[in-house]
Structure formats: C-alpha cells, structure tokens
Symmetry: C5
Subunit: 365 residues, 5 copies
C-alpha cells in the first residue's frame, strides 16, 4: 500500500504546475503541462501515389516552402514538443492558424475538441498509455489538416503512428492513394485503436483485484480500489468527449471530407462507441468492488466472532463451575463426597457436548 500512497503523493506534487491555467490572456500561447523538455523536432513526410520523401528536422520556414511549392505531394508535418511556444507561434503566423487553436495545442490539459474553420479543421485528442509501472500516461495530441497538408502536434515521440508510417512507406492499404482527409482519419483511428490496449489493461487490473477480493478480502486494500476508480475516471474524462467529436465529424458537411472517407469515419464512431461502452462496464464493476470488499470483510468478521463466541460460551461457564468448587468455605458438603470430583468432571463434559451440539445445529461450524 505504501507504494500506492507514495504515488498519490507524487501526483499531488505534480498538480501544482497546473496553477498557471488561469489569469492568462485569451489567444496568448502558453505551454501548460509538465516539463518534459525534449528538443522540438519537426519531421515531414511528403507522399503521393508514386513517391515518398522524408524531410527530417525541418525548420518552420521549410514547411511553408514545401507546402507552397511541392503541391503534387500531400505533406504530413509532425511537430514533436509543443512546449516550444516560439516555434508554434511562428508556425501559426506562417500558416495563418487562429491564435485560439495554437493556445489549445500548447495547453496539454485541453479537453478534446473539434473546430472546423473555413479552410482547415482542428481536432485535439488524448493519447493514452500504461507505462511499464502500469501507471496511466495521457498525452495531448493536436491535428490540423487542409487539402494539401496535415499538421500533427505531439508532446513527445510516440510509437503509436509507426504502423501508419509503415503503411505510407510500403504503400499498404489505401493510404497513399487517398487524400489528406484519409490520413486525418487514419491518425485518429490509430489513437482510438490504442484505447483498446488501455481498456484491456484496466480489464486485467479489475479482474486481478476482483479475484483477490473474492478469494480473501485481506488480499486487497481500499487504496487499490480507489486508485483503479481514479484511473477509470481519468480515462472516461479523456474518451467521452471524443464520442461527441467523432459524431460531429460524421455529420459534418465540411467540404474537406471526401464522401468515401465518410464511411471510415462512421466505422471510427463505432469503435469509439465500443470503447466508451467498455469503459462504462469496467466503471460499473469497479464501483461495485468496494461493496464486494465490504461483503467479504463482513463475512470474515462473522467467522471471527463465531470462533470467539464458541470458545467463550463453552469455557466461561465451565470456569465458573471450577471456581465454585475452588471456594474456601469451611462447610461445603460436596467436597468430602468421594466421587464428587468425577461427577463434576462428567457434568462439565456433558455441558461441552451440549454446547457443541447447539452450535453445530446453528451451523456455526
């Protein structure tokens, strides 16, 4: 338990950071989040049906050049390290992105949201992982796309999009032949598909905790249940707004979405529904675990009390009888009667048997 408590402490420490959220000038871009200051890296994958070109470690100016000149390509610009507010701001100015959007990109505490502008679409999501210590990690993720390019903003380098890079590189599936809207869909799909992993870990944790509680309540602690509860609440907070967003996406009539991509988005919505339903099921189960825990504890207490009651009820009366014949009165006629001792022992034995029979009939053991 002490480990868990320590975790609670450290998370309480981390919280202090967030304080800067308020008193901020609207539209002023400020990084809000933890200080995982890796270097900021911008990589671009330019692709069309025939070719893929990689531009690693680009400057902001290079992006503008690529976009304006190499129009036969679709460009996937991956911006890693949103704490670099200066680069973000510069990028925003060059590509003409609304300051509120840039603010949302730099705010890693931002709630998932979708904003459709006339010439580009912005979506903010949460990527979620369980790290090697089984702690839940949430990363903020932003996406902007228009006809010619797609901009993705990440906190750190994640392996989540590797399969998409591979599909682009190897021309697998439809990704190279379709427009930026399909890549947009594919990236969101990768994020949502990864939620299945998160839920599976939750499933395993729940199952494990439940098994231990059902076997013996002492194997588990209220702290574990509480931590799992908080984890599920945290996941819900990240996933539930997405349901609404994808539905909005599905119903949107924005001209940036291709009709054929719409079927994929409907499918994506289906996945999100399935994920949220699963989260709710684990929620319901985990919320019930404490009751199960209490039931197990009560059951145990019952058994402890029965042992106490049986032992006390049998031996306290007997001790009393022994006490009576231990009194030092001068005149106690039984004491001189020779078989008295054995008669008293016999009576005690009978009392024991009667009480045992009584408790057996009550099914106390």
């Amino acid at each position: 338990m002490s480990k868990n408590i320590k975790h609670l402490k450290s998370s309480s420490h981390r919280r202090r950071k967030r304080k800067s959220i308020q008193n901020q000038i609207p539209g002023k871009i400020t990084y809000i989040g933890e200080d995982i200051y890796e270097e900021t890296i911008i990589n671009i994958i330019s692709y069309n049906e025939d070719k893929v070109i990689y531009h690693n470690n680009c400057s902001v100016e290079q992006i503008l050049e690529l976009i304006t000149h190499e129009t036969e390509f679709k460009h996937w610009i991956n911006f890693v390290g949103v704490h670099n507010v200066e680069k973000l701001e510069k990028l925003g100015q060059l590509l003409n992105i609304h300051p509120l959007v840039l603010e949302d990109i730099a705010n890693t505490k931002q709630r998932p949201k979708l904003d459709e502008f006339e010439d580009y679409i912005f979506i903010a999501l949460k990527m979620m992982f369980h790290n090697e210590k089984e702690l839940l990690i949430k990363h903020h993720f932003g996406l902007i796309f228009n006809h010619s390019y797609i901009l993705s903003f990440q906190q750190t380098q994640d392996s989540i999009f590797n399969s998409i890079r591979e599909r682009i590189h190897n021309k697998m599936g439809r990704i190279r032949t379709k427009g930026t809207d399909y890549l947009f869909y594919a990236l969101i799909d990768a994020v949502v598909d990864n939620y299945y992993n998160v839920i599976e870990t939750i499933e395993e944790k729940t199952q494990d905790l439940e098994d231990r509680i059902l076997l013996d309540a002492n194997n588990a602690s209220t702290a574990e249940i509480q931590l799992l509860k908080r984890e599920i609440l945290s996941i819900r907070k990240a996933i539930f707004p997405i349901k609404e967003l994808i539905n909005k996406l599905k119903l949107s009539k924005h001209e940036l979405y291709n009709a054929s991509t719409k079927a994929y988005i409907a499918d994506l919505y289906d996945h999100v529904l399935q994920v949220t339903e699963n989260v709710d099921i684990y929620r319901e189960i985990v919320w019930g675990l404490l009751e199960i825990y209490m039931g197990s504890l009560s059951n145990k207490m019952n058994q402890v009390m029965k042992v106490l009651t049986i032992m006390s009820s049998i031996f306290i009366p007997l001790t009393f009888i022994a006490g009576v014949y231990g009194m030092n009165f001068e005149y106690m006629p039984e004491l001189g009667y020779k078989p008295a001792y054995f008669i008293v022992l016999g009576i005690m034995l009978v009392m024991i048997l009667v009480l045992i029979y009584f408790f057996k009939r009550k099914k106390w053991f």
Copy 2:
C-alpha cells in the same frame, strides 16, 4: 467457490486473444475471436412459392452463378465459419461488398450495428446461449440482404434457425410467399426470440441465488453475486445496441423493405423493448442482492454477538464471586459461617435469573 474462481481465471486467459484488435489497417479483413476452427461451410436454400432447392457445401463461385442465373428464386446463403478470411474476401469481391462490412463480419467482438447501403443492407447481432454448464456463450452473427438473396454469417452451426428452415421447407406461415426482407426479419426475430431463453436462465439463477441468500446468507457467496452481475452486464452490452438498431430499421425508408414487412418489424421492436426491460429488472434485482446479503450477514452477526454477550454477562460476574471466596486470606469471616456456601449459591442463582429476565425483556432471545 473455487470453481467460479477458476472460471474467472480461464476467462482472463481467453481475453489475451483480443489484443490483435488494434493496429489493424482499416478495411483489411482480419478474424478477431477465439479459435473455434471448424471447417467453413456454405449452404444455400433457394426457394420460391413453388419450389425449394438445397445446395449444400457450395463454393463461392457457385453462389455468384446461382444469384445471377436463377433469378426466379430467393436465395438464403448461410456462411458458417467466419474465421475463413480468404473465402470471405473472395465472396466480398464477387458480390461487391464494402471491405468495412467484411471487416465487421470477421470481427466477432464487433458491436451490433446496422449499415444501409444503396443496394444492400447489413446488420450485425449477437446470438446468445447458456451452454450445458450454464455459462453464457455469445456468437457473432452477420446478415446482408438485397432483393434477390440473403447472406447470413455465423461462427458455428447453431440450431437457432432450424424452425425457419422447417417453415421454408413445409411452406408454413408467410415465409415462402414473401420477399427476402421477410426472411431478413424472420432471422432477426429468431435471434431476438432466443434472448427470452437467456433471460429466463438469468431469472432462474437470480431467483435461486436470492432464495439462498434470504434463507441464510452463508449459503451464497459474494463471488456468485459478482459472476451474475458480470453475466447481466455482458447480456446488456449485447442487447441494448439492438434496441436502437431495430428502431432505425423501423423508421428506415430504404426501398428494400416492403410496406407489409414494416408491421412485423414494429412487432420485433416491441419484443426487443420487452427483452431490454426484463434485463433491466434483473439488473436492478441482482445489484440489490449484495445489500440483501450484507443485511443477512449483519443480522447473523447480531445473533452471534447476543449469544456471546448473554453467556459472558451471566458467567463472568459469577466467576468473580466464586473467585472472591477462593482467596486465601487468613481472616475472611464468611468462610467459617456454616450456611454461607448455600447463601452464596443462592445469590448466584438470583443473579442468573435477574440477568435472564433483563435479556428477555430486551428481546435478545
């Protein structure tokens, strides 16, 4: 209990399989589910008002031939064994089925869904059974239909549609005279009607558990309640999306539905409503069982404590009195007084009676 726990374990083992759900290329058909690899069998029943022809164990090409040439028949093509991804893909190409639909057919974890395309309609449902060990089994079930044929996709051979085959064979009811939309309705109806069986088993399990808890909480365990809870959650997950689907079906204006079939679909919707209401009632009852269990345990504990308290309260003071006259002081005037022993015994008797009266009045026994 150990049996239940074992079951929990094995189900936790089975879960590992699902992991492949994510990182999948959209539209690429992959079988997701347990490995019940029976052989894949395609049986076709071609029927019209006058004739029924059976084609067993067909190849995919035969299907295309039947459909394109024997247009005076309606064809019910039953595809058993959706793990055979190659055959599925081939079938999809020949009959021009959207890859996302094929993906949903091969994914046995797919949530129930309805997709209306211009020239065919797709629905995915769950078939549910309790096997001979009273464990809940869920099978994925897919249906595609257009004017001339109906395609049903099953995981394994189930007896659920035998009555429909019989009705076709014997020309019972309206099934031979009506179109494929009626068969479509009849198949869904068979699946939904089967839910009544599932709910009845749940009803019996609930009743049995409740009876045992009410008689004596020790007859039941928290593990049993938890298992029943999980079973009901699993059933809800399968049934609740169907409510929405059938409503969509009911309101749909797709030209594949015949007006006269619409009345049957409205009736089907009614059945689904009744099923979901019943599930919710058992849900409510089972969720309350743990509280009842706790109440029974508390009641029991109360009785145990009363026995302990009565025994202790009567004999501990008496033992003390006996102890007093067991002291070895040289000068204890009472000891020499002849009737003292009997007086002390008398006092003890009076104390016993007073305490018994006291506890009786408190209604402790």
Copy 3:
C-alpha cells in the same frame, strides 16, 4: 419468512410456462399464459341514447350480424377467456383484424402497446389487483375499437367494469350520448383508476414495513423488503409503458377520436402521470428501507456490544485480583494481615465505581 420463501418457490414454478414464447411463427396466434381455463364467454351490450340491449353468450357469427345490421347502435363486445385461440382466430377473420394484433391479444405476457390502423385502434394494457392474500395479480387486457363497435378482451371476468356497465344501463354521465371513442376512454380510465388501489396497498405495505423496521429491525426481515421491491418493480413494468401510450393517444390525430374526447384523454394522461410519480416515490422509499434496516441493526449491535464491554471490563479485572489472592504461594505477606480481605474488597468496589463513572461519561448507558 418461510411463507414468503414458499411463495417465491411457487412463483418460480409458474415461470416455466412462459418458455413457449420463443420459436413461434410470427402472426400465428398462440395463447401464452397460465392455464386459467374458464369457459370463453362473449357478451355484447348494444346501446344508443334511447335503448340498451344485452346479448349474452353470443357466438362469433352473431357479432358480425349485429355489427353489420344494427348500425344505429354502438356495440361493446366483451370477450372473456383469451385462451380460446380458435374463437379468437375466427373473430379476427370475420372482423378483418391483423394477425399480429390477435397474437398480442392471446399473449398475456405482452407489454402494453398501442397500434393505430387505418380503420381501427388497438391497445393492450395490464389490469392489476391485490388478491385476498395481498399478492399482486396482473391480467392482460386488450381493446379494439372503430366507429361502430368496441371489442374488449379479458383473461377472466373482472368486476372492474361494473361501474361502466351501470353507467350505460342507467344513462349516467355522458356515456350513452357519446361515441365509441368515449367508451374506449372510459374503459382505459377504469383500468388506470384501479391502479390507485394497487398503489394504496403498496403504500400500506411500505408504511407497515417501515414502521416495524423503525421500531425494531428484528420485527422485519430482508425477505419482506425484497418481496416488496419485486412487487414495485412488477407494477412499474406494467404502468410505465402506459404513460407513453396515453401520451401517443393524446397527440394522435387519428380520425376515430372525437375532439371532445381529447379533453378526457388529456385528463387520463394526468392520472397516469400521478400514478407513475407515486410508484416512483414508493420505489425510492422501499429502496431506502434496506439501508434503514442496516442502520437499525448496527444500532442494535452497538448496544449489545456495549453491554458485553461493560460487563467484561468491570468483572474481568476484578476476577484477576481475586485470582491473585487465590494463589497458593507459601509466602504472601498480605494474606496474614487481618484487614487485608476488607481492604481488597474495598479496592474492588472503588474499581467498579471508577469504571461505571467512566462508562457513564462516555454515555454508554
């Protein structure tokens, strides 16, 4: 309690019957319900502003004749005994009633529903009573009406409509002067008004149980609370769909409803609202009873434990002191000291008083 348990058992026995619900051919009329096979009786009351004619024990053919020839009358045809499927079917054919409607009439487990056809309207409801053993009885009730007649289908003869028969006979109120839609309303109103009785019985049962629990938790059992819960769930299941139905009726623009009847239906809707609100209040109270019960039990346990603790805490230390001076060491200086015995007794008395003061201050008694 054993009586309640027995009741639970017998109801579990009755359940087996329902099994026939599934695997049924849609539109095939099958009686589903318990076997209360009284004889089937059809009585007709033909009335208009001037006359009332009674036709008892009619055959199906007589109905058709009456309807087609005596058009100056409105006919209330009361069909008692819906288990008689043959008569039902014949009636359906002669009066041109949709097979699905007949199926719903013969299915006593049917959920309340409203179906508006072009030339007639069908409604299915539940009549509820508490029998003399205070058990809840539910009877299925079906109504069909068009311009010239009203058909009511009952499981058994009930006294619920006697006041309506009387109003027709004695020309009380508006019933003779208005159309079949008013009779239709009056019959539903009689069913709904009767729910007030059911709720009152629930109110009395709840009040009685609550009073007993609040006085002394031992006066009640978890089994009683559970039975009451199930009864309320069963009532909710019957009443809640009706709310929706009557609202549909209220909003319906079907030409069979007269404008002046609409005001009465709005009033009826009001009654249904009031009934459902009351059911929900008793639901909330009964759901809370178990918690109250637990609170009372805990309170009791507290008192039991206090008695035990007081008795033990006072006498166990005293017994120890007595034990010390009961030891047989050869050299125990106090033993020879003459007033020692009385000093020890005095010390014991002081200890008793101190402990009693201590427990008094803790308000333990």
Copy 4:
C-alpha cells in the same frame, strides 16, 4: 422516537380517506381530501386604477352580476372551501367552466397542472407550510382567469395572499394598473415565494440533524432521517411539476397574457428553478445522512470494541497465571520458593506494560 412513530401511525390513518379517488365518473365533481369543513366563503375584490370595492360573503349569483355589469373593474373572486361541491357546480354552470376543471378543483390530491382553454386559463398548484409542530401541510390551490376576472379556489383561509391584498388596497407597485394576467402572475408568485420558507425549514431541519449525527450518532435516529426523507419527497412531488407548468406558461402564446407580463413570468420561472435546485441539494444531503449515520455508528463500535479488547487482552492472560498458582497440586516447587510471589507479580506487571505499549503503538488509545 415514539412521537415520530405516532405521527407515522396517524398519517397512515389519514390515508384511508383517499380511497374514493377511483371508480369515479369522469367529469362528476367530487370533493377528495380531508374533512376540514369550514364554511364556504366567497369574497370579491373589484379594483381598477382609481377604486377598490370589497364584496364579502357573496353568493354565486352576485358573482355573475358583478362580472357582467361592472366591466370597468377587474374582479378577484376568492372561493374558500372547495369541499362545497354544490356551490362549485353552480359557479361552473354560470361561468361556463369545463366539468373536468371543476373536478380538478375539488380534488385536493390533484397533481399541479395547467390547462389553457380558448377563453380562460386554469392552473392548479400546491400551497405548502410548516405548521407550528413543524409538520408539512399541503393545500390545493386553483386559479382561473380571463380578461375580466380571476377566480381563486382555496381549501382554507391562508395568510399567503395578504401582501397582495395590501398592494391592491394601497396601490403599491404595478398591480392596480395592470390587467388580470398580472394578478394571476402575482398570486402564483406569492405561492412560489412561499416555497422558500418551506425550503428554509427543511434546511434548518437538515442542518440540525446533520449536526447531531456528526457530533454523536446516538443523538439521532433512523426514524428522524426517514421522516425528513419523506418530507422532501413530498415537497418534490408538489414543486417539480410546477417547473414544467411555468415553462409552458412562459412559452405560451395565449392572447390572455400581456407581453409586458411575460418578463415577470420569466422571472417566476427563474424562482421555480432556484427552488427545485435547492430541493435537490437537500435531497442529496439528506439521502447521504444515513451513510454518515452508519459511519458514525461504525466508528463508535470500533471504540467500544477496542475497550473490550484491551481490557480482555490484558487481564485474561494474567488471570490465567494467577489460576496456575492457585492449583492444588501437592508438588509445585515454585510455591515454596520465598520470593516467588513477588517475582510472579513482577512478571504480571511487565506483561501489562508490554501489552499497553503494544496497544499504544497500534494507536488504539
């Protein structure tokens, strides 16, 4: 507690009266309620901008005369004593009021409702008070208004409208210059404003109960919590339908409402919202009180058990040691050893200290 229980009993007695609700002919006016048969009194206040005329104790015919002839006045007709069904009926006939409305006026159990007819508007509300014994009293209140008069129906004389009468008398505010719709609003506003008082009493009761439970669970009883729960449920039942009614009023386009009055009705809606929100907050708090009560009880039990365990754990082993040296074996070498007695006493002392240290470290006292 016994007082509360008695109250429960007497309320259960009062309930019997309601039985007459069912089997009533629709539109037949019947008084439903308790028998508080004061005399029926009709008072009329006729006012316009210049004059106020009081007509006390009018007959029904006088009303008609006033309305038809003195058209330069607005008339507020206050009908006290709705049990007088004959007068109600006569009034209804003279003023042409729908029988269902009269039925709702005479039924003091009627749910709050709003009915807009072409030439008048009817609203039924509940007035609520806490009487001097802090019991909740609900009175039924009906209002009818058209362009020239307003009819208010009360069960008994209440002081709630005195401030309005004063405002009319003294020409305070806008009431004399505005139409009957403003008086209509003012009367409803007076009823709703009075709910604040009811909620404040609830707030005080809740606070008081909570304080007592938090200080010591024994200061409160489950019966008190249950009574408060029922009171809040009863208030909710009266207030919640009103929210909907006032919203309907707000959105209504009936020509009887003046545009300038609409702003006041919007304000009234706001008040109702605030009242319902407050009721829900107290609901949530009171529903949680039982849990708090259980927590306090558990806490107490813990302390009781600790006292018992400490006393028993210290003295039972010591008593055993004393018992050993109280045995009468002929050969017990320690007995003859002179300092043995003091050594044993010393060992006992050490044991006491060790156990006290052990319990201190466990923070048991």
Copy 5:
C-alpha cells in the same frame, strides 16, 4: 472536529438572513445578502485604441454624462457595493434598465442568469474564492453591456479583474482594439478562469482527505467528508447554470455580439465544460470517500476482533484447566501424583501451540 462543527453552526446562523427573499413586491429592488456594508464606489475606465482615462469615485450623474458625450470611448463602469439600493435605482432610471434586472443585481442569492434585451444584455454570475481559512466564499456578480459601455456590479472589491485592468492600461492583447463585447467576454472569462483555482483547492482537499482515510480511517472524520460534500454541492450550484448560459450566449444571434468575438465565446464554453467535468469528477470521488472510510473502519474492526478472539481463545480454556485443579475436592487423585503439575503445564503449552498454529493457518496474524 469541533472547529468544523462550529463552522456549521455559524453558517446556520448566517442563513437566517435570507428569510427576506419572499413576500417581496416583484420589480421592487431590495438588497438580499449578508451585511458587508463597505462604501459604494463607482469607478470608470474610459478607453479606446489611443487613450485610457480613469474616473474614480464617480456619481451616477457623471456616468450619464460620460456615456452621452464621450462617445469615442468605450466605458467600463465598475459599481462596487450592490447593497446601496438607492444608487442602483437611480442608475437604473438614468440608463433605462428594467426593474427586474436591478432586482436581480441587488439579490446576491440570485441564480446565474442571462437576459437579452433589445438594446443591452444582462448576465449574473457567481465569483468564487477560498479565503485564507480555506472556506468557500461566493460573490454575486452582474454585467450589463451595450455598444458604448459595460456596467459591472460587485459585492466587494475583488482582485480578480486586475489582470484585465492591466491589459487595458498596457494595451496588451486585443482588448483595447476590440469592442465592449470583447470586454464583456474578458470579464466572464476572468470569472470562469478563477473557477480553476477553486477546483484545484477542492482537488487538494479531496486528495488530502483521501490520503488520510486510506492510511488510517481514524485520521479523518465523517464531519470532514460531509463538509467537503457540501462545498462541492455549493460549487456545482454556482457553476452548472453557467454552462447553459454560455451555450445560450454562443448560439445567440443578438447584434451586440461581434462575429470575431464569437470564437472567443466558443472557447469560453469549452472552459466551462472542462470546469463542470472536473467538478463532477471530484463529486464522484468525494461521494465515494464515505464508502472508503467505512471499508477502512471495517478492516480495522476486523483486526481488533482478531486480537480479542486470539487472546480469549488461547487463555480462556487454559484458565479453565487451572481452575479445575484449583478445586478443593478432598479426593482428586491427580493432585498427589508428583509430576502431574508439570504434565498439566505441558498440556497447556501444547494447547497454546495448537491454537497458534490454527490461527496462523487462518492467516489471522
């Protein structure tokens, strides 16, 4: 705990004030709230792109003059001290503000609301703080704006708008260049941003309480949980209506809102959503704390009981054996047998070991 209880008392004292809410003439301006009678101060900041002019401590007439003459400026009029009803009334008359709006401004218990009039817009919100004693303070805040000025009404001088004043003074961000609608947005935004602070304090309180309960239930009290619950309910009551208001603002087509400001309001709505979601999460956690507390208590009780049972079960039987050989029967053969004493001691030792083994196997320690 006593401190908390005292707080409860004093808050119960403060409540009495509210009583004046009812029986008030609609549209009559009355101050409702606590008596924090600072002096009423009106400060005006007149600004445009080029200049900022400060007018401190203005009279009501000065306002009118400024507004009517200096039209090249936008004026922010900050009215501190809404208890000054006379000034409010005068201001209302001069600026032509609806009396109901003035009533809402002077009523510090007013629910958050939005009223859009033809030529101005009114919004009422709650400002919330935690004071230095960590108690929640709520201040009523009203805003009126039209094209040329913005009127803000506060209870007392708060530091919450200092950053906005700074931004105006230093021409930071867009505030000087944009219209009054942007200032309107900025003020609401400042209020909402401040909610993040409130929620963070709640987060810390919750975390702290949870940590203490999980470590040892005795470190926390039910009173603390209850206080936190009430605090969260109070916050919800202030924040939840705002969600609806801002949404209304977002969807409003009132010509006072500039299109470019709309994007900021959408962003504001997002913030409100995030705040309400967070409140609900803490709500859920705090509501669960009592259960956690009960679980911890039960766990503790279990351990206490085990200690008692182990001690009693070991020593009570041994004491009985010692008692047997302490009896004074003349004929007890064992007593004369020399090694008997050691044999009995040996038997006792064996019994101790057996019982310890038994309890160890049951994992009781």
